[in-house]
C-alpha cells in the first residue's frame, strides 16, 4: 500500500518510463486498481476509472495541464508501439513537456520587411524609375524585384511592365531576369507567354541551363506542345541526371494525352536511374487508368503496385483513394475496397485474410546474418567496435550455449528509468523473464561487475544465476553482440532493448539489407512498454504480419500514410486499404 506522498512521486516517474508510449497522465490512471486506494486518487487529484480498457474519452481531471488524449488500446490492432507512425513525434513532444518547455517553441521566423513596396498594378517606366531610386538595392533591383513578384505570386502584367522598363533602360534583358520571369509564367500558368519566352531564349542562347529546361518541361507539358518537353529532358540528361519532378511532369501530360507507351517508357527509365517517382506521378497513372480498360494497362498498374512493394513505398491518403477507385472501376471483376486496420494476429478485419508473416525466409535470414557480421560487427576495422580476441571469445561463448530465447541489453534495460537502482531494475526484468522458463542471455559491460552504488554485487550474482551473462570491455560496443547473439539463436529468439538500432542499420551497405534488417527488427524486438517496481511488466506486442503492399489471388492489402500523421523512416503506417474481388 503506497502513501499519497509516494504516489505523487510515482506519477512523474511513470511518465518517464512509458511517456514515449502513452499520453503522460495515462500511466497514473492505469495503475493497477487493486493497489491504489480511493483516498489516494483524491490526494493526487486523479479520478480514475477502474476499467482497464476504457476508451470512452471521458474527461479526467489531471493535475498536469496537458491536452487530453485517449489511446485506443486493446486488440483492435491499432495499439501504439515503437514502430508505428507518429511514435517519434509523440516522444519528442513528451520530452519537450518534460523539459518544462524551457526551450519554447521555435520562434516564428521573422519575415524581413522589404523596404521597397511591391506594386500590384503594371507601372509606367517613370514609376519604375522612381521605385528604383527609392530602393536600397540598386545593383540587383530588377532581379530582386522579380523574385519578390515570384514569391508573392504577383500578376504577370506587373512583371511585363518591369521587363519593359529594363529594356528601355538597358536595351536588353539579362538571362537571370528572363529565367525568373519564366518561373513566374510557369507558376501562373501563362502558357502562351512560356512559348514566346522559349522562342526568345532559343534565338539568343545556344544552350540553356538545367533550371530553364526544367521550367520549360513543366510549362510545355501543360500545352499541346508537350512532346517537345521530351527534347528538353534529353538536353538535361546531357548535363546531369534529371529529377523525378522532370520525369513526372512529362509522364503526367503523356497520360492525359493518352500516350501510355511514352509514359511507361519514361517510368521504366526512371526506375533504371534509381529515381523514386513522386506521389502525383503515381496518382496520374491510377487516375488516368479509369479511361483505359485493357489488360495491358492493368498489368502495368500491377507492376507499379509491385514496384511499391519492392521499394517499400507507402502511398499517401490521396493516392490510396485513387488506387481504390481505379480498382473499383475495373470492369468484370467486382473489386471492393475498405479502409481498415489489421489485428495483431495478422488478420484483416474486413476480409479475414491473414497477411504475410513478418518472419524472414531462410535465404533472407542467412543473407542478413552474413551482412550483420560483416558490416555491423567487423566493418572496415574490427577494432572500432571491439577487438578480434573479444569477438572470438564471444563467438565461442555463444556457440556453447545456443540457442537463447531472449537476449537482453543489460545497460539499456537498467537505465529504463532515471530513478531507482540500476542493478535492481535489471534483476527485476531478468527474474520476470526467467520465471517464464526462457533461456536468457544478458549483455553488459565489465564495469557492471565492479560493485558500485548503482551496480550491487549481490544483484549481479543473482542475475548470473538466472541467465547467461557476457560482459564486454568498457570501451566496446554491446549492441553488435546483441544482434549477433539473437541472429545466431535462430528465428524464435527475441532481443530486449528500447534502442531503435538506427546507427547499426546505417552501417549496412545496401538498401535491400537495411530493409531486411528493419523487418527482422520489427519481428524480433521486445520493448518494455510498462515498468514500475513491484508491478506487472508489460511488453509491447510484436506484430505477426509484415507492413508492406501485398496481394493474394483475389485480395490486395495496401498500407498507406494517413494525412496529418508524421511518419519517420523507422516507422510504419497503421492504416490499410483492403481490396477484395467478388466473383
Amino acid at each position: 500500500m503506497m502513501s499519497a506522498q509516494s504516489l505523487r512521486g510515482v506519477v512523474p516517474r511513470l511518465q518517464r518510463v512509458f511517456g514515449s508510449l502513452l499520453p503522460p497522465h495515462q500511466g497514473a490512471a492505469r495503475l493497477s486498481p487493486c493497489c491504489v486506494g480511493p483516498e489516494l486518487c483524491i490526494a493526487s487529484k486523479v479520478s480514475m476509472s477502474t476499467e482497464r480498457n476504457q476508451n470512452d474519452g471521458s474527461k479526467r481531471k489531471v493535475s498536469t495541464a496537458k491536452p487530453e488524449r485517449t489511446a485506443h488500446r486493446g486488440n483492435t490492432g491499432s495499439s501504439f508501439s515503437l514502430f508505428t507512425a507518429g511514435a517519434a513525434r509523440k516522444r519528442a513532444e513528451f520530452t519537450k513537456g518534460q523539459m518544462g518547455d524551457t526551450l519554447g517553441d521555435d520562434a516564428p521566423a521573422v519575415t524581413k520587411v522589404s523596404k521597397t513596396a511591391i506594386p500590384i498594378k503594371p507601372l509606367s517606366i517613370d514609376e519604375w524609375k522612381k521605385l528604383k531610386a527609392e530602393g536600397y538595392n540598386k545593383t540587383r533591383f530588377e532581379v530582386s524585384m522579380m523574385e519578390k513578384l515570384l514569391s508573392t505570386r504577383a500578376d504577370v502584367d506587373v512583371a511585363k511592365s518591369l521587363l519593359v522598363f529594363v529594356t528601355m533602360e538597358t536595351g536588353t534583358v539579362e538571362y537571370e531576369l528572363l529565367l525568373k520571369y519564366l518561373a513566374l509564367c510557369v507558376q501562373k500558368q501563362q502558357l502562351s507567354e512560356v512559348l514566346d519566352l522559349y522562342v526568345i531564349l532559343n534565338s539568343r542562347f545556344k544552350v540553356l541551363d538545367v533550371g530553364a529546361y526544367s521550367l520549360f518541361i513543366s510549362g510545355f507539358s501543360k500545352t499541346d506542345h508537350w512532346r517537345q518537353a521530351v527534347m528538353f529532358l534529353d538536353s538535361i540528361k546531357k548535363m546531369i541526371t534529371p529529377s523525378p519532378r522532370n520525369y513526372g511532369d512529362i509522364i503526367i501530360s503523356a497520360l492525359w494525352h493518352k500516350e501510355v507507351e511514352t509514359a511507361w517508357r519514361l517510368f521504366k527509365e526512371m526506375e533504371g536511374k534509381n529515381l523514386k517517382p513522386n506521389e502525383d506521378t503515381l496518382l496520374a497513372f491510377f487516375d488516368c487508368g479509369k479511361s483505359f480498360c485493357d489488360d495491358q494497362y492493368e498489368n502495368k498498374m500491377m507492376y507499379i503496385l509491385s514496384y511499391l512493394r519492392d521499394n517499400q513505398i507507402y502511398p499517401g491518403e490521396q493516392l490510396m483513394h485513387s488506387i481504390h477507385s481505379w480498382f473499383e472501376s475495373i470492369p468484370g471483376n467486382s473489386w471492393e475496397g475498405h479502409v481498415t486496420t489489421i489485428l495483431h494476429s495478422g488478420e484483416c478485419q474486413v476480409c479475414n485474410t491473414v497477411l504475410e508473416s513478418i518472419q524472414l525466409s531462410e535465404e533472407e535470414y542467412n543473407l542478413l546474418r552474413k551482412h550483420v557480421m560483416n558490416d555491423i560487427i567487423q566493418g572496415t576495422d574490427v577494432f572500432k567496435k571491439t577487438t578480434p580476441q573479444e569477438l572470438q571469445h564471444f563467438q565461442t561463448f555463444v556457440q556453447n550455449r545456443l540457442p537463447f530465447d531472449v537476449v537482453i541489453d543489460g545497460l539499456n534495460v537498467a537505465n529504463i528509468t532515471a530513478k531507482g537502482n540500476q542493478s535492481r531494475i535489471l534483476l527485476d526484468v531478468v527474474s520476470h523473464l526467467a520465471r517464464q522458463n526462457l533461456r536468457l542471455l544478458v549483455l553488459g559491460r565489465k564495469h557492471m561487475l565492479r560493485g558500485t552504488a548503482s551496480w550491487n554485487k549481490g544483484h549481479m550474482a543473482v542475475i548470473q544465476k538466472c541467465a547467461d551473462c557476457f560482459f564486454t570491455e568498457n570501451i566496446s560496443e554491446d549492441d553488435p553482440f546483441l544482434l549477433y547473439a539473437t541472429m545466431h539463436s535462430g528465428n524464435h529468439c527475441k532481443f530486449l532493448s528500447r534502442d531503435l538500432m538506427r546507427d547499426h542499420k546505417a552501417c549496412l551497405s545496401d538498401k535491400n539489407t537495411r530493409r531486411l534488417f528493419f523487418k527482422w527488427q520489427r519481428g524480433h524486438q521486445l520493448v518494455l512498454s510498462r515498468y514500475n517496481p513491484g508491478h506487472k511488466m508489460k511488453f509491447e506486442i510484436i506484430p505477426k504480419y509484415d507492413t508492406i503492399v501485398q496481394t493474394t489471388n483475389n485480395t490486395w492489402h495496401i498500407p498507406y500514410d494517413e494525412e496529418g500523421v508524421e511518419r519517420c523512416s523507422y516507422e510504419i503506417p497503421r492504416k490499410w486499404l483492403c481490396l477484395q474481388r467478388h466473383n
Partner: protein
C-alpha cells in the same frame, strides 16, 4: 456658342438656387441636397480595375520588350560537333557552368580544364554545385586580396615620394641593426634544431590518407602547416615526427605542393615507419577524443601522438581503433573537467591541439592551455578545477545549493545538453567512483 454655354450655366445655377430654396422651406437637411453638379467618383472595386486594364494605355506596350529582344536576337551559332568526344563533354560542362553563371548561381568566372574535369566526375548535381560554389568563393577571396595589395602598394609609393621630398633625413644613431625577419628565422631555426636533438617528440600519425576526401586532405595539410609554424615560434618546441607518411601518397604530394622547396629544409623528422617502431611502446600515448581516459597532467617523458585527420563527416572511433590495435595508452583532453561545454564536437583541429600541448608544456596549467579551445564551443571555465570542486562538495553540504554540478563525462558523439530543473539528488552522482576517470 458662348451664349449658349453661359445660358446653360445660368439655367443650372438658377435651377439649383430654386431647389435650395424649396429645401429650406421644407426643412430638409442640407446634406442631402445635391448642390454640386454630378462628378465622377472613383469607386474601388475589382470590376473597375479590370475595366481600367482594358483602357490602360500601357497595355499596348507591355510586350514591347519582346519585340526589342527579338530584334536584338543574334543568330545563335550552331555548335560545331567536335571530333573528340572528351572535348565535347568538357565543352558541354563549360557551357553548363557559363549558363549557371548567367542564371545567377555562385560559380567561378574562370575555370581551368582540370577543375572542369573534376566537375564532370562529380556524381550528383548538388556535389557539382557545392564544388563550383567553393571555387567561386576561392576566386572571390583571391580577387579581394589582390585589390588590397594594390591599394597597399599605392600607399607605399606615396610614402616613398613623401620621404624623397623630405630632404636631408638625419641619420639615426643606433647600436643595433634593424632586427629583420631573417634574424628571427635564424633564431627559431636554432631553437628547433635544439629541440630535434634534445626536445620532447610529438608524433603526427599520417596513416589516415584513405579515410579522407580530397578537400578534407587539403584542410589537414593546411592545419599541419600551421602546426609546424606555431611549433617553430614557441620557446621550447617539440621535436615533430610525421610517421606513417606514404612517400607515393597524395598526402606527400599535397605537402610538397604546399611547402615547395622548403620541404627538404624542414626541421622535422619525416618517416614511412610507424611510431611503434621508433619509440618504446610504454612511452606512447595516443590522444583521441574517444578515449575513456583523461589526460590529467602533461608528462614530459611521454610521447604524444596526434592523428592527423580532418573528418568532416565525423568518423567516430577511428584513431581509437588504431590505438587499440597497437595496444597503446590513450587519453583525451580534460575538456569536460575545465570547461562548461556548450555545443560542437570535442575533436579539435590539429593547430588547436599543438597550441594546447605547447602551452601546457610550458606553463603546466590547463586553464592557460584550454584558452585555445574555440570560444563558440563552450560557455567559459568552471570557477574551480575538478578535484577541488569534488572535495569541497563532499566536505560541506552547503555547496549543494550552489549550482555547480560536476560535468558529466560524455563521449564525443553525445551532444551535451544543458540540464535545467535538475533535481538536487543528481549531485549525489559525484560521490560514485567512476571507472573511466581513473589514472591510466
Amino acid at each position: 456658342m458662348w451664349l449658349r454655354v453661359t445660358h446653360l450655366l445660368q439655367s443650372t445655377g438658377r435651377h439649383y438656387i430654386r431647389q435650395l430654396k424649396s429645401r429650406v422651406k421644407n426643412k430638409v437637411p442640407l446634406t442631402s441636397c445635391q448642390i454640386m453638379p454630378h462628378h465622377r467618383t472613383l469607386v474601388l472595386t475589382s470590376c473597375v480595375k479590370n475595366e481600367e486594364k482594358k483602357v490602360n494605355p500601357e497595355q499596348l506596350d507591355l510586350d514591347i520588350w519582346k519585340t526589342i529582344m527579338r530584334e536584338n536576337a543574334t543568330e545563335a551559332p550552331k555548335p560545331v560537333p567536335s571530333e573528340d568526344l572528351e572535348d565535347s563533354f568538357l565543352a558541354a560542362t563549360r557551357e553548363m557552368v557559363q549558363m549557371w553563371r548567367l542564371a545567377g548561381k555562385t560559380v567561378p568566372e574562370n575555370i581551368t580544364e582540370e577543375q572542369l574535369s573534376t566537375v564532370q566526375e562529380l556524381p550528383s548535381k548538388s556535389a557539382k554545385k557545392k564544388y563550383l560554389k567553393y571555387l567561386a568563393i576561392k576566386e572571390g577571396k583571391k580577387k579581394a586580396t589582390k585589390e588590397k595589395r594594390k591599394l597597399k602598394q599605392e600607399g607605399a609609393k606615396d610614402l616613398q615620394k613623401e620621404k624623397e621630398n623630405e630632404e636631408g633625413i638625419a641619420l639615426k644613431n643606433t647600436y643595433l641593426l634593424q632586427f629583420w625577419q631573417r634574424s628571427f628565422d635564424a633564431l627559431y631555426n636554432w631553437r628547433t634544431v635544439q629541440s630535434m636533438m634534445f626536445g620532447q617528440p610529438l608524433v603526427f600519425d599520417m596513416s589516415y590518407e584513405s579515410y579522407m576526401a580530397h578537400r578534407e586532405m587539403e584542410n589537414t595539410v593546411s592545419q599541419i602547416l600551421e602546426c609546424e609554424g606555431y611549433n617553430r615560434r614557441s620557446l621550447d618546441p617539440f621535436h615533430l615526427h610525421f610517421c606513417n607518411l606514404n612517400p607515393e601518397g597524395s598526402y606527400q604530394k599535397e605537402l610538397l605542393k604546399r611547402y615547395g622547396d622548403a620541404w627538404n629544409r624542414l626541421l622535422i623528422t619525416i618517416t614511412e615507419k610507424s611510431y611503434v617502431d621508433i619509440f618504446p611502446k610504454d612511452k606512447l600515448v595516443y590522444l583521441t577524443a574517444d578515449s575513456p581516459y583523461v589526460l590529467k597532467t602533461f608528462q614530459h617523458d611521454k610521447i604524444y601522438i596526434i592523428g592527423s585527420i580532418v573528418d568532416k563527416s565525423i568518423q567516430t572511433g577511428l584513431s581509437h581503433a588504431n590505438a587499440k590495435r597497437l595496444k597503446l595508452a590513450t587519453a583525451r583532453l580534460p575538456l569536460d573537467e575545465y570547461l562548461r561545454w556548450d555545443s560542437g564536437a570535442k575533436n579539435l583541429t590539429l593547430n588547436q591541439m599543438i597550441s594546447i600541448l605547447l602551452t601546457v608544456k610550458e606553463t603546466g596549467s590547463w586553464l592557460e592551455a584550454l584558452k585555445f579551445v574555440p570560444k563558440r564551443k563552450h560557455e567559459g571555465f568552471f570557477p574551480l578545477p575538478m578535484e577541488q570542486r569534488y572535495y569541497s562538495r563532499t566536505r560541506n553540504d552547503e555547496n549543494k545549493k550552489t549550482n555547480i554540478n560536476k560535468p558529466q563525462t560524455k563521449a564525443r558523439w553525445q551532444k551535451s545538453s544543458l540540464r535545467l530543473n535538475q533535481p538536487v539528488e543528481r549531485s549525489s552522482d559525484s560521490h560514485k567512483k567512476r571507472w573511466w576517470t581513473e589514472e591510466h
